[in-house]
Structure formats: C-alpha cells, structure tokens
C-alpha cells in the first residue's frame, strides 16, 4: 500500500497535519472522559445496593412551625397516626420511621471501632435510627443474629446519638471491616464519647447515605424513633407509581394542613443525589458531540483542500493506470493515518484529563472499554467525512493530465 508515499507527503504539510493531530487528540480526550462519567453515572444508578429503591417511597413531613418539635406528645401521636394512615393505603406493604434514608444523599455519619481496640482503626459509616419495622420495610436480609424488638425501639430527641438499649445492627461489609474473619454478633462497638453498643445482628447489605461514597457499603442502624423529624419509608407492592405518591401526599396533608409534605420514590432521590455527576456528564457529553462534529467538518475541509490541490496529480496517476479504487483508497488511508496519529497523542491527553478529574472530583479512572469505544467512533467519523472528497478524487478523469495548466 501507499503508506510510505503518504508519510512523505505529510512532510510537505507539517502545519496542517499538526493541526489535525492536536484537534483529534483533544476530541478524544474529552469524548473518553465524558464516556467515563456517563458510565460511572449509569453503573451507580443501576447498582444493586441491596435495597429495592424502585419499590420504596420516602416521605418527609415538615411542620410549618419548628416549635412543633418541642411538644413530644404531639410528635409521638402524629408519627403513630401518620404511620397508620400510610399502612392503610392500597398498594403499601410496610411503613417505618427512619432518621434518614439510604442513598438519599443525606443522613448522619459516625466512626466506630471495636471496644478496647485502637481508635485509628475506626470505620467511618452511615448511621440510621429506625423503629422495629425498619428491617422488614427496607427489605434487609438478616444473615446473623436477630432484629430489634419493639421494647428496644425507644423515642429519642437525638436518635443518631445511639440507642438507649445499647444495641446496633451492622451491614456485613461493616462487620467485616471491623472484625475481619470473625463472628461480629455479640461484639462490642465503641463510638465517640465512650458510647458502647452490642452488635445484635448482621444484615446482608445496607447501603450508606450516598451512592458515590467509597464507603457506601458501610452502614449501621440503631433502634430509636426520632422525635426531631418526621421521615417515613413506605414499601410498596410493585414499583412506586405517581398515583401512589399522590395518595400518600393527600392522606398526610389531610391529617393536618399545618405542614409540608415531600414524597418521592427512593430511586428519584438517588438520582437527585447524583445531580452534579449527571450535569457534568451531560455538559461534557454535549461538548464532545460538538467536538466530533467540528472535527468532522475539519476533516472534510482538509480532505477537500488536499484533493483540490492535487487534481492534476490524480489525473496523472489515473493516466498511468491507477484505478478509481486506488485513488479512493489513497485518500482514505491518508486520512486514517492522520487520524491515528491524532488518536495516539489523544491517548496521552485523555489520560492526563482523566487523572485531573479523578484527583479533583473523585471520579473513577478511565477504562479500556471507553478508550476503545471513543477511538473507534472517531475513526469511523474521520473516514466518513473523508469519503465524499475521496470519491470526488476518484472521479477525476485521466484526461485532466493532458490539459495545460
């Protein structure tokens, strides 16, 4: 093939070749990193967290006057009546009162360590407080020990400070982080201020407060019923429907209009918690599409220019017996070589950008699949945008060579 002659012609067009290479390198870098972010977003969104977030509605009731919470009796009464009203709704499989919701982006965190152990080995994890129905409503799978009893779940003004019963249930990942290779049930757990709790159960999986945290699998739940918030999780039969959300909203407002009700599916909340990643991915994705478009136009005009410049040479080659296919192949190959050089440099730039993004925004590193996908895409776009000028070149009649300049 004509690789050597093509490389020789590159030497005469160094500046335009350099332009093409720089352009392609940058296009690849942005495209691949957009793919990385979109990929990260989608995997986190569809991640099996151990909780069926599409079949859970989360409800936050906000009293109009914050002074409401100083009347304990009223709070208890309202919580009980709210939960009963919710449980009576069609399509509701279970209800529970929680301090905060898994994967919602909000909630308390704390550090815990084995009692008597070194504080430096503490694990940082999400902490929930909930009533006796929490495990069944969230659909958590107890793999060792027991669940909370109704007696253990006491009311608390500061529920995530720990339970009065001194017991805690942890996720398997947290149990393994704290007591690697050992049975966790029955062990004592220490957290700030000398507070000690006994692990009474281990659940298979309990996700933490934010899906983008490295520690998303480390979580614990204590038996305590919040007196400082009105947050309910509602397990539904089948997926959460907008109609059900409306019914939940209506029934709670009907109980009292002196409050605001916010109700969502947990899945929707999870999407909300990843808002920034979504936004960054979409803007970068949009820019990379524009870049590919601009690059395609560039490749087209570059090829058109180089064909127009060489009309007479093409004619001469045709006159000496080169077929149309030869000419077509020559121009496509020329473009392909230039594209490949650009992509080669693009590998470096993409890696650099990916490094910066990982460092500054805690994004995952670029993977092989995104790189290959991005390169293939740019190759194809490059070839497609050269096709038209190359066809034009192929249709140059050999007779042109005989005409005077």
């Amino acid at each position: 093939m004509e690789i050597v002659p093509i490389l020789q012609t590159f030497r005469f067009n160094k500046s335009s070749l350099a332009l093409v290479i720089v352009q392609l390198a940058f296009t690849l870098a942005v495209l691949v990193n957009a793919l990385v972010i979109i990929d990260a977003y989608r995997t986190r969104l569809d991640m099996d967290s151990g909780i069926n977030d599409r079949a859970l509605a989360v409800v936050e009731v906000e009293p109009i006057d914050h002074a409401y919470f100083s009347d304990e009796g009223r709070v208890r009464n309202d919580v009980q009546q709210d939960l009963e009203a919710l449980a009576r709704l069609d399509g509701v499989a279970g209800v529970t009162q929680l301090s905060s919701f898994p994967l919602s982006g909000e909630g308390a965190m704390r550090s815990s360590w084995p009692q008597g152990g070194v504080k430096e080995k503490a694990a940082r994890h999400t902490l929930y407080a909930g009533d006796a129905q929490a495990l069944s409503t969230l659909g958590l799978n107890l793999v060792a020990g027991r669940a909370f009893t109704a007696e253990e779940t006491d009311w608390s003004r500061n529920p995530t400070a720990g339970s009065s019963a001194g017991v805690v249930i942890v996720s398997r990942a947290l149990a393994e982080a704290l007591f690697p290779g050992a049975e966790a049930v029955g062990k004592q757990l220490e957290s700030g201020d000398g507070k000690v709790e006994t692990i009474i159960g281990v659940v298979d999986r309990l996700p933490g407060r934010h899906v983008l945290m490295n520690t998303v699998r480390l979580a614990a739940i204590v038996p305590a019923r919040p007196l400082n918030s009105l947050h309910y999780a509602v397990a539904t039969r089948g997926e959460v429907t907008p109609q059900l959300l409306q019914r939940i909203d209506a029934v709670l407002l009907q109980r009292s209009a002196e409050r605001d009700v916010k109700v969502d599916s947990l899945y929707q909340r999870k999407i909300g918690s990843m808002h920034y990643l979504f936004l960054f991915g979409s803007i970068l994705g949009f820019i990379s599409l524009l870049l590919v478009l601009v690059t395609a136009i560039g490749a087209y005009s570059q090829a058109s220019y180089s064909v127009a410049k060489r009309i007479r040479q093409i004619g001469t080659r045709r006159a000496f017996g080169a077929s149309k296919l030869h000419i077509l192949r020559y121009f496509l190959l020329e473009n392909w070589l230039a594209t490949s050089m650009g992509l080669l440099l693009g590998l470096l730039v993409a890696n650099g950008l990916s490094f910066v993004l990982t460092e500054t925004m805690q994004l995952p590193r670029m993977g092989m699949s995104q790189l290959v996908l991005g390169m293939l895409f740019i190759w194809i776009v490059g070839l497609l945008s050269t096709l038209l000028p190359a066809l034009r070149a192929a249709s140059v009649p050999p007779a042109i060579a005989t005409r005077a300049a």
């Binding site: 500046s15 335009s16 332009l19 720089v22 352009q23 940058f26 296009t27 942005v30 906000e62 109009i64 006057d65 914050h66 002074a67 919470f69 100083s70 003004r157 400082n228 407002l253 209009a257 002196e258 605001d260 916010k262 909300g272 808002h275 920034y276 936004l279 960054f280 979409s282 803007i283 970068l284 820019i287 524009l290 870049l291 601009v294 690059t295 136009i297 560039g298 005009s301 570059q302 220019y305 127009a308 910066v356 993004l357 500054t360 925004m361 300049a405």
Partner: protein, 451 residues
C-alpha cells in the same frame, strides 16, 4: 483609507460565501460554548455591589471550643451567636450594619386555610440590608426604623413570590400569612439574580430569597428556626430560646459597612476588645480571633472547598479548549480561501500595492468574520446560559426562591459581552495570521503566468 480596507474585506467575504458561513459558524459555536461556561465562573466571582466592595465586611468571631477548630485549617465559624450579634448591634459602631439569617417559611394569602402553602426561601434581616446591598425595588421600599423597633410584622417580597400570590400587581399594603402570623407587605423586589447568594454562602445551593422579614420579629416573636446553625459541642436544647438565645450556637450572619481604613481599624480593635472582655467571662476559649472579611475574600473562603468551584473551573478549561479547536479548524479553510485569491493579489502586487495593504485587507476580512461569529456566539450563549442555569442550581428543593427563579440573563453582563467579542476578535486574528502571512509572501510572477 479605513473604508477602503473594509470595502476590500467585504468583497473578500462575498467572494466565497460558503467558507464565510463555515468560518462564522465555527467561531460562533466556539464562543457560545466557552462564553456560557465562563459566564458561570464569572458569576461565581462577581462583585455584587462593586462600588462598595472595599467597604463591606463580613464579621467573624471564633467562639469554637479549644480542642478543635470549626473547620480546618483553624477557620472561624461563618456566623455569630445571637448574643454577640446583639452586642454588635447595640454598639452600632459601623456606618451601616446588617444581621441576617436564612429560614424556610410557608406563605399563603389570608383566608386560604387548608390549601397547600407556598414554601418560601426567607431572609430574616435588619433593615440595613436594603441600603447595604441595594436590591432593586419594583414597588415600595424596605421597612423603617420605627417598624423594626416596634416589632411590626412587615415584609418585603421577591418578584417570584409577588407573581405567584398577586399576579405581579403592586401588592404594597396587602397582607400575607407567614407560617401562622400575618405580615403587611411594604416592598416588592424586582428580579434579583445572585449567583452565588454572596451574603449568605452557608449553603451551596441557595440562590435567591423571596421573603424578607425584620430580624427582631424573626428571633423574638416568630422564633424562625435558622436553616444553618452550628454549635461547639452538643446543642443546648430543642426549643428556640434555649438552643439559640443564650447559647454558643452560631447562626447570625453579620455584615458591616466601614467606609475608611480608619473606621475598619477602629472596628477591628473594638472586636478584639470585646473578645478579650468575653474571655474574662470564660468564653472564646480559642486564641482570640476576630475577622473582617471583604466580600471577595468571603466568597473565596466559602467556595474554596466546594464542589461547584472545581466543577465550573474544569468546564471553563474544556470550553476554552473547545474554542481553540474550532479555531484550528478554520486555519485550513482560510489558507485555501486566501490562496484561491492568489491571482488577483498578484495583479495588485504587480500594480504596486504594498504588502502591508494586502495584509490589512485580509486581516480585516478575518476580523469581520470573527466579529460576526462573536455576536452570533453571544446570542447562542444567552440561550446556553438559560438552558444550563436551571440545571446547575436545580438540585435545591427549598421551594420558590431556593432554586433559580430567573433565566440567568444577568450572567451575561457588560464584561462578559466584552469577553465574547474580545475572544472572537483575538481568535480570528490569531488564526488569520498564518494564512495572511502566506498570501502576502506569494511571488506574483508565478501566478501572473497562469492567469
């Protein structure tokens, strides 16, 4: 002379309309993307009240416990306790001073009981706010000294809330229910886009306030629970008074206007004296620290570790590189376009037109294309800002006022327009340099022969 070159340039543009369109479109696209992103960055760092930026200061007092600072590295909390704010207000040593905090309230028209109320982003503030930060009023004005002193329930509402409740009519004198109290409207603001909400900045997602109520009413009678509060150690209690009145809980954000460096020094020494005095009473256990931060410093400190900052910075870099790529694309186009005119240029040169005149003609041509691209790009950026703005700030769920209300047109201010036009002209000149140099250096004889 200038007209002559302009005429030549215009003729050049007319000669190859297709390349002209592609060049203008490329520049427009590049400007649209980069300026949209730069506008957000610019907005994040804008000076909200430029003529006072050297005079307005945020007051910070470090009342945190001795063991660990409020935030690393040794930063004071972003707000004051109610008792410290009250002391400063009573001392009244600054030319103008404002105590404020953010709260969520629920608003309705009187007599609409049982209906869903409107959740409104609310600012409890002393009346100095309106004079200090100069929000644009559509109707009425802020409340007066007497009303504030007598704990009158008066309110200023934002444009969005006025549109929702009164269909945009002049609502001064009308009444609204805020939580369970009735307030009389004394002023209505016009559209006031702030990004970020520089006078608060305790949360990244706050964009605008829709209801302004007197600070004394909020803390003394309404007892509006602040959205942001923090205390060293455990909270003192659960009701408003024990939690906030005599405690070390910080939630009051304090601003002062000090016109001269002398006034600033005097205020600083007053703060230092106050801390020393309070230390004798067993408060302020950390090394004495009272700070007066100017608005830019304050914004800088609060954004330093925020997500938005890094996020927007990265996008600005990507946007500028995108513009660069669009420009690179044009170089080849311009070369072929200018060289296509080599014959005519050769004739001119042979007739004695100097090189520099040829140079000016072609550079002017590129400049005109760049200017057109810049203007179109600016129009596109206006669309871009309106499209991305709500997404940017859509994460907040604080009802109206909590998230974006306007369409962010304010982000494209005079300096951004200048940036857009400057960037497009600079870009066009840069990319035209090499092609122009090439056409100026042609040997006329070579082309004259082929004519």
């Amino acid at each position: 002379m200038i007209l002559h070159h302009l005429g030549n340039a215009l003729r050049g543009i007319r000669r190859s309309p297709v390349t002209s369109v592609v060049v203008v479109a490329s520049i427009a696209l590049g400007i649209a993307v980069s300026v949209t992103l730069i506008a957000f960055y610019h907005g994040m760092r804008a000076e909200p009240v430029p003529h006072k930026s050297a005079q307005v200061f945020r007051v910070l007092l470090d009342n945190w416990q001795a063991e660990k600072p409020f935030a690393e590295p040794d930063l004071a909390p972003p707000a004051l306790t109610l008792r410290d704010a009250t002391h400063l207000r009573q001392a009244g040593l600054a030319q103008n001073e404002v105590a404020l905090y953010h709260a969520q309230t629920f608003v309705a028209l009187p007599g609409s009981a049982g209906e869903r109320r409107i959740k409104a982003s609310t600012r409890a503030t002393t009346r100095g706010f309106f004079g200090l930060f100069e929000p644009p009023f559509r109707y009425g004005s802020g409340w007066d000294q007497g009303a504030e002193g007598n704990l009158e329930r008066v309110a200023v509402i934002g444009k969005t809330l006025n549109d929702r409740l009164f269909g945009g009519a002049d609502s001064v004198g009308r009444e609204i229910e805020v939580n369970s109290a009735t307030f009389r409207i004394v002023g209505v603001l016009d559209q006031w886009d702030l990004y970020p909400l520089f006078y608060d900045m305790t949360r990244e997602d706050l964009v605008s306030d829709e209801l302004f109520v007197p600070f004394p009413v909020a803390v003394d009678s309404l007892k509006l629970w602040p959205s942001f509060s923090a205390q060293p150690g455990e909270p003192a209690g659960d009701d408003f008074d024990t939690r906030f009145a005599g405690s070390e809980a910080v939630f009051v954000q304090y601003w002062v206007q000090l016109a001269t460096p002398q006034a600033r020094e005097a205020y600083q020494s007053h703060l230092n004296g106050y801390i020393a005095e309070q230390k004798r009473l067993g408060r302020f256990p950390r090394a004495a620290k009272a700070e007066l931060l100017a608005i830019p410093q304050w914004i800088e400190r609060q954004q330093e570790n925020g997500n938005q900052r890094v996020f927007v910075q990265t996008l600005v870099v990507v946007g500028l590189l995108f513009f660069g790529i669009c420009l690179l694309n044009i170089v080849t186009l311009l070369i072929s376009r200018f060289m296509g005119n080599a014959g005519a240029v050769s004739v001119l040169r042979a007739l004695g037109v100097p090189r520099w005149a040829i140079f000016v003609d072609h550079i002017t041509e590129a400049g005109l294309l760049g200017l057109a691209g810049g203007l179109i790009g600016l129009a596109l950026a206006r669309v871009g800002v309106a499209l991305i703005g709500p997404l940017f700030l859509g994460a907040s769920d604080d009802g109206i006022g909590g998230s974006a209300a306007g369409d962010f047109g304010g982000l494209l201010d005079a300096s951004m327009i200048a940036t857009a036009i400057g960037l497009s002209l600079l870009g066009a000149f840069l990319v035209a340099l090499y092609p122009t140099w090439k056409i100026c250096r042609i040997a006329p004889t070579q082309y004259l022969k082929s004519l």
